[in-house]
Symmetry: C2
Amino acid sequence: MTDPSGSPTRSQWSARETELLAVTLELLQQNGYERLTVDAVAATAKASKATVYRRWPSKAELVLAAFIEGIRQTVVPPNTGSLRGDLLALGNAIRVQSGRHASTVGAVLPELSRNPALGDAMEYVFVDQRKAVMTEMLRHAADRGEIDAAVISDELWDVLGGYLVSRQILPGRPATEATVTALVDEVLIPSLTRTIHTDR
Amino acid sequence: MTDPSGSPTRSQWSARETELLAVTLELLQQNGYERLTVDAVAATAKASKATVYRRWPSKAELVLAAFIEGIRQTVVPPNTGSLRGDLLALGNAIRVQSGRHASTVGAVLPELSRNPALGDAMEYVFVDQRKAVMTEMLRHAADRGEIDAAVISDELWDVLGGYLVSRQILPGRPATEATVTALVDEVLIPSLTRTIHTDR
């Protein structure tokens, strides 16, 4: 399932299937996981139940396909020519995307402990895909001499995304473009350009 | 409701009420918000329904009281004498606390859009309380000359907590003590000790 190049994968679904997944996301956001039924998805999309069940035999499979499809459309690795430009572009893409899907993430989170397949799907979206994009971006910055390659961290590559997602899914302080700019200029760039002691 | 000193507020509940709130948290983590009933809380705690309903007339009020009580017990502003020590202490407290309550946060998130009182309670826990603690800590560091007071940011005071919460509630990569140490040494200290241009 993972695409190691980090580039956005092409959709595996037909136009009709993509429409069913969009309806699923919409109903999920309105009603939450618990109250979503495959029958309601079929009825809203004016599809036969058989069509839906043939593709996605269970609600969990339908929901995770919808979720991955919803996110897939916005995973594009930036390539602006500078680290700052790339971080701003990626940060704003994550901000918009997680703002749009905040209620879906919220609707799906309680289900994770009961449903390992959904957990794997979320991990794919929030870990594997983003790590590939971020690592590629930082490697380009190191190639350009903007940062020391030693700052690329297996532990903390996701501060940009993790922090922005927390602002979007917790109540009260949705991130703005100014949030992303401040995060890049006041936190990430000072961190990524810090002095590294190489005598480790 | 806000305690401007940022110090942990004393519980307003009796021992018996605290017990009911603990049972509520437990059932919430097991079953999610949707499937939780006040009757089940009363039955599990061997209390009469009237006792529970007299204190908390609705499920939403019961849940938010339980949630605030669960978090209250761990909001302690650190005072280790150094910025690094304070950040490590607070980071580890947030890591442990949000790891413990990850499933509750998950259970409550889908309810937020439908229930403004719950949203306000989460905002109190995740914004007001933490901001008071963090601001006090940074002011002490500025007083000791460890940082320039100009780095204290209204936009980004919550990078420590926001990032750690995202690691605890999203699947796949729960934060460890090493995560907190790396976050403090590689991200927060370089950010807070960066050169500030004061000719703004």
